[in-house]
Amino acid sequence: MTAQSGAAFGRFGLRGGSNMKAIEFCGVSFRYDEESPFAIHKLDFSVEEGEFVAVLGHNGSGKSTLARLSNGLLEADEGEIRVFGTQIARKNLYDVRKNVGVVFQNPDNQTVATIVEDDVAFGAENLGLAREEIGERIRFALQAVGMQQYRTAAVARLSGGQKQRVAIAGVLALKPRAVILDEATAMLDPRGRREIVEVVSRLNREEKITVIMITHFMEEALLADRAVVMNRGEIVMQGAPADIFERQEELITYNLAMPRIGYICNRLRAGGLPVANTLDSETLAEEIARCVS
């Protein structure tokens, strides 16, 4: 992050810092229709403002439903959902969505306009802002995702990772206090995935934007403050990512694959090399060097 873009963030006053809960689920249940099982079942879950939470789970574990409920795209059958202290109701959806932005899986299906800046402007236009303010927000949002040089480019010509960064910029233009990424990296190649993870962790670190990253790639959870594992609409594990990844057998029962580094660690220990647990390749290299010498 350059000093210049840091200034841009500061100017928009996105810094949080209070101890308010960004998102709070109290006994929430939801199902898509009467016959189907609950997608979310009696869920109690909360995210502090400024926190970076990774939500892990296999397909159908209810993690995407969680994103849609948090933004008011779905309405809970039971229980209460509060966003920055306000309970979600039909009449305040507009305010809820201003505070909680969602980035979806397929970048092609969330782009409204052909040109990058027009697409980023869409949300800000919906808020009824003045032209100058929209221009400022486009500049800020594109800078935040490192796409300022593509401002007038055609979205169709960008790579998957770049398109998804534009989608994030489109959400940032609303100046949300929390951003939910609903499997936003699922359709990207490894490079695109890395780009997105870097952008959101930077937004969280430097701007204190609350980030909820829903994913089934466990490596992506590494940068998070907290990892939450979901299964059949319930939270089954939560804690620091490194601690979660140590409980390998348990993870396998929830159909989640271990990150490769963690797997190598475990195999090395089983093979008699007493390396400490880590999920970072460089630390592992140092550990191996230590053990061997």
């Binding site: 979806f104 092609d108 409204v112 052909t114 919906n126 009824g128 929209i134 055609a154 959400v171 609303l174």
Partner: protein, 270 residues
């Protein structure tokens, strides 16, 4: 299928790209009317001269512009053939039954073909030099008076821009489905017309389903970005007229005057 050049924006920075979309739209309408006002080749020559100037000032490669005519080649040949065969004239070369090939018929068919070509070229110049967003902004602005009779002008404009924006996405999707069906043994090469039409169904059905799914997801993404119909939105790109638009209006006036003069003073048809 990849060659859907019609309706595609060509990014460049030119006099034409910078014109107000409303002016371009009105210019196109005037151009179309004028093409039909012209009753002789002099009139069409005036139109063609203006069009050539437009193409040169647009910085769109000429090859790309001409490609837009490719889509109507069949229509051109078909109407030309009909006119050559059935148009009655004085200088008859061949006559049998209702078929009558005459000098006037040939001239008339050339005249009509030229009209069609000019029409298509001018329309594609509009879409080459105007982004879909600018185009819909222009349409929306021109249709504003309809808001008074409760026509949802903004929603219509948004529908139009999203439709244009999805052309490349759905083209890609079609290609993907086609390949998937080929891999499953579908035959798209048959020369039999019935079979050929039948072969489209395995492409159309998945394409429709995928388009509906895309629409659903786009709807969610738009709602998540605070879009609600009926709420007053603002516009980032405000349409403003500049000296360029004045030039365009003057050119348009000259075009109309030129064609009307050729019609009045050089009246002889064709």
């Amino acid at each position: 299928m990849k060659d859907v050049s019609f309706g595609q924006y060509y990014p460049a920075d030119s006099f034409l790209h910078r014109l107000d979309p409303r002016v371009k739209l009105l210019f196109l309408i005037a151009f179309i009317v004028v093409i039909f006002v012209a009753t002789n080749f002099y009139g069409l020559a005036v139109c063609a001269a203006v069009l050539i100037a437009i193409i040169l000032f647009s910085r769109v490669p000429v090859g790309k512009v001409l490609r837009s005519v490719r889509g109507i080649v069949f229509l051109l040949l078909f109407t030309a053939a009909l006119n050559v065969l059935f148009h009655k004239g004085d200088t008859v070369y061949y006559q049998k039954g209702i078929i009558c090939i005459s000098l006037e018929g040939i001239i008339f068919s050339v005249f009509l073909a030229l009209r069609l070509v000019l029409l298509v070229l001018c329309s594609s110049m509009l879409t080459y030099t105007t982004t879909p967003v600018a185009l819909t902004d222009g349409v929306e602005s021109l249709l504003t008076p309809l808001k008074w009779i409760f026509v949802p002008v903004h929603a219509l404009a948004l529908i139009m821009s999203i439709a244009l924006r999805f052309i490349p996405t759905l083209t890609e999707e079609t290609e993907r489905i086609k390949n998937a069906q080929l891999a499953r043994g579908a035959n798209f090469e048959s020369r039999n017309l019935i079979k050929k039409i039948g072969a489209v169904i395995p492409i159309l059905v998945p394409l429709l389903l995928s388009a509906l799914r895309k629409a659903d997801e786009l709807g969610d993404a738009m709602e998540a970005r605070c879009y609600t119909s009926g709420v007053k939105r603002t516009k980032y790109k405000k349409l403003t007229l500049t000296w360029r638009d004045l030039v365009a209006v003057l050119v348009c006036a000259a075009l109309i005057a030129g064609v009307v003069l050729t019609r009045v003073f050089l009246g002889a048809p064709y």
